[in-house]
Point group: C2
Chain length 332, copies 2
Amino acid sequence: MKDVAALARVSLKTVSRVINDEPTVNVELAARVRQAAEQLRYQPNFGASALRRRDGRSSTIGVLLEDLSNPFSATIFRTVEEVANQRSVSVLGGSLDESPGRERQLTTSLSRHRVDGVIIVPASHDHQYLRQEQEAGTPFVFVDRPPSLLRADQVRSNSREGTAVAVRHLIEVGHRRIGYLGDASTIFTAQERRWGYLDALERAGISADDAIVVQDLRTIDAACDTVSRILRSKNPPTAFFTGQNLLTMGAVRALRGAAMQHEIALVGFDDFLMADLLEPAVTVVAQDVAAMGREAARILFQRIDGDRSEPYRVVIPTELITRGSGEIPPAR
Amino acid sequence: MKDVAALARVSLKTVSRVINDEPTVNVELAARVRQAAEQLRYQPNFGASALRRRDGRSSTIGVLLEDLSNPFSATIFRTVEEVANQRSVSVLGGSLDESPGRERQLTTSLSRHRVDGVIIVPASHDHQYLRQEQEAGTPFVFVDRPPSLLRADQVRSNSREGTAVAVRHLIEVGHRRIGYLGDASTIFTAQERRWGYLDALERAGISADDAIVVQDLRTIDAACDTVSRILRSKNPPTAFFTGQNLLTMGAVRALRGAAMQHEIALVGFDDFLMADLLEPAVTVVAQDVAAMGREAARILFQRIDGDRSEPYRVVIPTELITRGSGEIPPAR
DNA sequence: CTGAAAGCGCTTACAG
DNA sequence: CTGAAAGCGCTTACAG
């Protein structure tokens, strides 16, 4: 900037004015500054500018997700990025892998970078440690899972109702014995979905059987093994509900392995690429992940722009997509 | 920091020493500083520190990808993030969507953030504009596609050879008429794969037929439509090679739609989740995307650490995974 | 409309 | 081992 000022024969302050598009600059001087900046390929230093600025804005936000390499996380990142880019804001991304330790680490790192706001799919269950930062003016928007012991905005799907609808669908097809596979029970949505499953059973007067309700499954292989084991048990279910993408894929694999894919019904939570090309095509409860990301970004920037109202609590509806696997009637 | 110094009754400089783990600090003073920092929940300001530091390091790198929401890009981001986190470096991510304009925009933004280095899957074909930045000390590592008109490190798969191996495989199964579907011909890897296809045909003395070689296909739907159209043509191929994930999925859909999936062979470039669960399971040329990301990150940090040697050119091998669809013999 | 001085939070370079 | 002064690149607050 100093060099630009020298080359354009103006003061530092005038260069600063031109760079920041302040209107009160003589057209001729502005042109001279711009030409000098061009010639020197001057790039303003965001960090230095943020340091002195009144608002201290860094033009950076943070997005902390479960795992950037899974489609859910990646879609959230992408939609947030889209909104951020319209405002020339850059996005720092990080994966928490369900580790509260990493959550602490990465939020600390974001705070040292003085990000203007954070979108987070949290791994921990106690967010009091964010209070200070929040009160200092950094907004946090929680996605997919609510904040614990902290008042903050949240955006999520109606997991419980969505699951209940799906399980009710299986019941309507005639199933009375429905297996359930769920993710780690520490995860909010996993709990919600299990509740939704129990809601639907209860409404139909069916009592749950722990032998066919398995939680804390995290991978395709774990789900595959579990379904295989249950299929070989004394009184196997006639249908399965799987609480997450990978578990659905694992169930597909197990049913296929047992050549039962056309006899045993299956509904999964969350849609996935190729679900419609499997045989049978897989019936799912689809979440609108892009909408979740967009909403979260919208709220975050609203907060950054000064919105100080009560915390928002946005619930995005889910949709049952019937494709075949969920419409297989019970054999008996 | 000022407050911490006041509370600990030491100078600014001493606080700075403690924060940066300089060894020459009295143990007692250090303890007092740490306690004060804890009490005030002091978070050092990376930006301010970078501003004054000799090396000017921001502890941030940039990763510019094609589209964070596709598995290839997401995997690269994830593996880079992994390496960066070990060094407490944060990662700014961005999607270019094959737009040279966005590439300019986002590299400019990264430069204003004074990132310590950039990993990029480029969209443009002229990277001279990065020269100045590069000479000023910001290393760039190109992934999946080489730099143009710029000397820089690159990490990519052996697309051409991998494709040739796959097409040769189809020829060995007995196919002489093999359709080809490729991505936008502006993309380096799309060109490479087409060359690999032509290499294999030539080696077998088969002349290519433009009627069944289609490029510039970008989506599942486009690939599906194209395959459907070709299947209805006068002289359809007995096998297809698809140059990319989405195109493979589109081909699967089209073959399925025509109920030809067990008659017409298919090999796709790049593996995808569920490929092994389709019927028939899909034979693919798999790239080791995680290895590409890891290598790129490794090289980037080596450069950041001062490596000034000649540009690296790393080629990661691909692997043919036979699963069934590629082993279907021609009907005639 | 333009500029000289001060200061953001930190580290450097130096003196003690 | 510790600290007072200067300065990184920028914006603020003020004077002209």
